[in-house]
């Protein structure tokens, strides 16, 4: 069964090919069928492979399948091959299952759109590219998937291209991630020139043998790969593209945030964890970037009006948690949080889409919603479950177990001043606050926008399945004090060699603190936004507070800063170089030739006697020179 692995990325690729080649000649029902079936088939194959993998693990807990040789030039012979180990298995399962649910949802959500066919062609390509990225056994093949998701995100963010703002958002996403991609590419060059291969497993063995712990070259390679991961995963300082990426249709946002694209950076670092273990400074930087990002993005999320932008900043923040976990060497915690996040963030986005599609004018502003709990019960319960999981409400949600695991691992790594842990805990509080702010404002209070339409089964089913997953998905890994189930980290232990934390005295207090901060966040949101005290409302309107709120609304002014730092100087250079200095050189050569031509032209008088005179003079001079020498 393991040998059917190649079918997993092949099915969505085939789906994309059929949809692209049909060029809109298919009926919408056929398109919907071709859109969902390949992904569902991938998911089924992936689940079958997973069952086979768990019941009868292949030797070394890894299976690799070489499809064919890409090219062979001297010592450079990258293969197109797939590599399956517990890490890529978990990612593959999440991507195919969540991807299928999102595609099913999208078939109804996008109904009637004139680009129906195009949309699903891109979506299938997106899933295929992400699967290539996850399953590649070679960094070069991984890079194909890496650029593939970049391309598809560009195509899908700018899907409604008639609006120029959407095109701008798409270009911004593409260009900002490109900064990171360039780093990744240089990183690949460094790895290849020093270690002579890009095949991931031999590469890791050679790195351990060739590079001592903490060597400069290992740090350089790790830092360059980190730059790629930062760009793709929207971490500081390359996070600015993600909030604008909300210009795409909601299922696209769900796919980008939950299953594909932004988790690619997390996967890359987890996949290359041996390299990061060799570069402790860079690994510390991963944790620091994660901690800074998760806090900054959570504060920005607290000040957004647009329901999708709240979720976008929330994704940046949650990926920050994953980076934090990677940085403290708790890769299995990062992947666990990735899984939980995929479930609840897909759920939140699909629920948000379910809300906006039922409101008049597809309203996105949470302050123009209100009282929707009664009118949209399905969306309400889905959003509530997703929010509870995001806010890590204790015991019943997947997000609680994954976030708790990250926080306790961070504490164990912490040292004397556990500043990373403090950032994580404070942000857990802010997370609960901002997401329940959205819940209370959107679903309670008085109705402000009329509700139209109804839901079909293709909307209800994904929401239900994801709601269940967002709750039970966490029970595969629980802390020692709560049963001590360690299925997830045991499964991943063959990849990371990381043992779960042993029971310790600090564990229970940490658990209590983590539970209390999230409950406190919900309670504060209830106090501030459901029954706001007049003093709070007045305070929120004072000038200084409004200035700060606008600052956070703009995402800490990063767009403004980059505009001044890069865009404006670039435009200035473009303006002063309007006539094109480089081109002037070549125009100058042409002008010089033309001038010389003008001079020489003067000698062409057409008078035969002048020519004869020149001939005679030339002869005399030539003979004179010959005679005198």
């Amino acid at each position: 069964m393991m040998h059917a692995l190649w079918l997993v990325p092949a099915f969505p690729l085939l789906g994309a090919a059929i949809l692209m080649l049909s060029a809109g000649r298919l009926a919408p029902r056929a398109i919907a069928l071709i859109a969902v079936l390949p992904c569902a088939a991938s998911a089924i194959v992936a689940i079958t492979i997973a069952i086979g993998f768990i019941t009868a693990p292949p030797p070394g807990h890894a299976f690799s399948q070489i499809l064919w040789q890409w090219v062979a030039i001297g010592g450079f012979d990258p293969a197109i091959g797939l590599y399956l180990d517990p890490l890529s298995l978990v990612m593959m399962l999440v991507v195919t299952v969540v991807g299928t649910l999102i595609l099913l949802y999208a078939t109804e959500f996008m109904a009637g759109d004139e680009g129906y066919n195009r949309f699903f062609a891109y979506m299938n390509l997106f899933v295929a590219a992400m699967l290539v990225l996850l399953l590649a056994n070679d960094l070069l093949f991984l890079y194909v998937g890496w650029e593939g998701v970049g391309l598809c995100s560009y195509l899908l963010i700018g899907f409604w291209y008639q609006d120029a703002a959407n095109g701008l958002a798409a270009r911004k996403a593409f260009i900002v991630t490109r900064v990171g991609d360039t780093g990744l590419m240089i990183g690949l060059f460094v790895l290849f020139t020093h270690l002579g291969t890009l095949d991931i497993q031999p590469l890791m063995h050679r790195a351990v043998l060739a590079w001592p712990h903490g060597s400069n070259i290992a740090s350089l390679a790790a830092a360059l790969l980190l730059l790629g991961a930062i760009g793709k995963s929207a971490q500081l300082p390359l996070q600015t593209w993600l909030p604008d990426a909300m210009a795409g249709p909601t299922p696209v946002s769900a796919l980008i945030h939950a299953a594909t694209m932004v988790t690619a950076g997390v996967y890359l670092i987890a996949r290359m964890h041996v390299l990061y273990a060799l570069a402790p400074h860079v690994q510390m930087a991963v944790a620091a970037i994660g901690a800074a990002t998760l806090f900054a993005a959570a504060v920005a999320a607290l000040n957004q009006h647009d329901i999708k932008r709240i979720l976008a900043y929330s994704t940046i923040s949650q990926i920050g948690y994953m980076f934090l976990a990677l940085g403290v060497g708790a890769e299995s915690a990062a992947i666990f949080h990735f899984m939980a996040h995929a479930f609840f963030k897909a759920l939140l986005f699909l629920a948000a889409g379910a809300i906006t599609m039922r409101l008049e004018h597809h309203e996105h502003d949470i302050f123009r919603m209100g009282g929707l709990a009664k009118q949209l019960p399905v969306a309400f319960w889905s959003f509530l479950i997703g929010s509870a999981s995001l806010a890590a409400l204790p015991l019943v949600t997947a997000g609680f177990y994954s976030k708790e695991m990250i926080l306790s691992e961070t504490w164990a790594h912490g040292g004397a001043v556990p500043i990373l842990w403090v950032a994580g805990v404070v942000t857990a509080f802010v997370t609960a606050l901002y997401i329940f702010r959205a819940v209370f404002i959107v679903f309670f209070g008085e109705a402000k926008t009329p509700v139209v339409g109804h839901y079909g089964i293709r909307i209800m089913l994904p929401l239900t399945v994801l709601s269940v997953l967002a709750i039970v998905g966490g029970f595969v890994e629980t802390p020692n004090g709560l049963g001590g189930v360690r299925l997830f980290s045991h499964f991943l232990s063959s990849v990371f060699g990381h043992v779960p934390l042993a029971a310790s005295a600090t564990e229970t207090p940490l658990l209590v603190v983590a539970s209390l901060v999230s409950l406190a966040g919900v309670a504060l949101a209830w106090l501030l936004y459901l029954r706001p005290a007049p003093r709070f409302v007045a305070w929120a309107q004072t000038q200084a507070v409004v200035a700060w709120r606008n600052f956070f609304l703009s995402g800490w002014g990063f767009d403004w800063f980059y505009d001044r730092l890069i865009v404006q100087p670039f435009l200035y250079l473009v303006r002063i170089n309007h006539s094109d200095v480089i081109d002037d050189v070549f125009t100058g050569i042409a002008d010089g030739c033309r001038g010389l031509h003008g001079l020489l032209k003067q000698t062409q008088t057409g008078r035969i006697r002048w020519y004869a005179a020149w001939l005679a003079a030339g002869s005399i001079v030539t003979i004179a020179v010959a005679v005198i020498r």
Binding site: Q602, G606, A612, A616
Partner: protein, 102 residues
């Protein structure tokens, strides 16, 4: 019989050649220019004969016969060109035939 020194013998062809050059440069009538070219050719032929006599070789006279045939051919082409120019421009002025000026 007195022999004229070789150096003095060359004076005539040099003068003839100089006259021919002057004729080409100074004359504007194409027929006269053609005639001046003939004079230069004959000056060159004369040098061949003088050199042949000086070194007692027949080559000089053979070369002169060659120059003569060459001059005949050249004159026929030159006259044909002059007739064509005369037909095209109603003039034999060489300065008027400056259509190729840059």
């Amino acid at each position: 019989m007195t022999t004229v020194p070789f150096g003095q013998l060359l004076i005539l062809p040099v003068l003839l050649f100089a006259l021919g050059v002057l004729g080409v440069l100074a004359r504007r009538n194409l027929v006269f220019i053609l005639m001046s070219i003939e004079i230069m050719l004959n000056a060159a032929g004369l040098v061949f004969i003088i050199a042949g006599a000086r070194w007692g070789q027949a080559d000089g006279q053979i070369m002169f016969l060659l120059v003569l045939t060459l001059a005949a051919a050249e004159v026929s082409i030159g006259l044909a060109l002059i007739i064509r120019i005369r037909a095209r421009l109603p003039s034999l002025d060489s300065d008027a035939a400056n259509l190729l000026q840059g």
